[in-house]
Amino acid sequence: MSDIPASALNAARYAGYVTVAEMGPQGMITIRGNLRSTRFRKAVADATGLTCPKQRRIERKGDIALAWMSPDELMVMCPHADAPALAGAVMAALEGMHSLVQVMSDARAMFSISGADAREVLAKLAPVDLSPDAFGPGDLRRTRLAQIAAAFWMEDTEEFRLICFRSVAGYAYGVLTNAARPGGEVGYF
């Protein structure tokens, strides 16, 4: 067995009218607990160096990001190699509080969807209002991507990141690249 981490699609990349790229191995840590607790939020903030995100938002500083997943769930995104140590730090900070911290890096695949029309490609696949007024940088949404569950957020005005379970990475890449094919431009936004 190799110890070198491999992602689901080995950083596959497609340049259509929007670029779709699987991002290779990524660090992901699931944190569960009571997000209404000030003590809990402060502990997570201290351990990650990020403020605890508000509902359906993601906070980023450098290569670490902290995402709101549900009223009792957060997810940390970080470099793959950093996840175990960072998870240890979060766990230590939450000592004595009802919580769960788990490295989930290899459970999921992450994609980058970038280009001026990136929001249009996602709008073809998810039942989400992606107009610039309704969804902007820092906004996050868990939803349905065609027939699978996925979450995506906006890094900046021209790039989305999307995560889904590793077992359906091929399906996600297939529908994303199909929606990004030249000739499929809609020009709605």
Partner: protein, 109 residues
């Protein structure tokens, strides 16, 4: 197309993001219950034409269960509320009364 607002993540989720969980506010009758109560728990359902209360799961979303009050005849939504409540809260009852005066559903009105 139904659009229900999930009270946990605040998303106005359309039907395909959700999973229907059947009638709301069922009282469980288990071991030691009478045959009549147990039968009612398993099979007795309202199935109304009009005001109805249901459980829904934000399956392709935050993963939480919640309650919804809606009209089965018009698909009109009166509101959604926490899964932890054992009966429809006052704001929901008021919203229904404003549009369906004199409504009744099981012991609620």
């Amino acid at each position: 197309m139904l659009v229900l607002t999930c009270p946990y993540c605040g998303v106005a989720a359309e039907e395909t993001e959700l999973h229907a969980g059947g009638e709301a506010h069922l009282k469980r009758f288990g071991p030691g219950a009478s045959d009549e109560d147990f039968t009612g728990y398993l099979f007795g359902r309202e199935n109304p034409k009009g005001v109805h209360f249901e459980r829904w799961l934000h399956a392709n979303g935050c993963g939480k269960w919640f309650h919804a009050a809606r009209c089965t005849a018009t698909l009109e939504l009166f509101g959604t509320y926490s899964a932890q409540l054992t009966e429809p809260p006052e704001p929901i009852r008021k919203a229904i009364s404003a549009k369906r005066p004199g409504w009744r559903w099981r012991e609620f009105s």
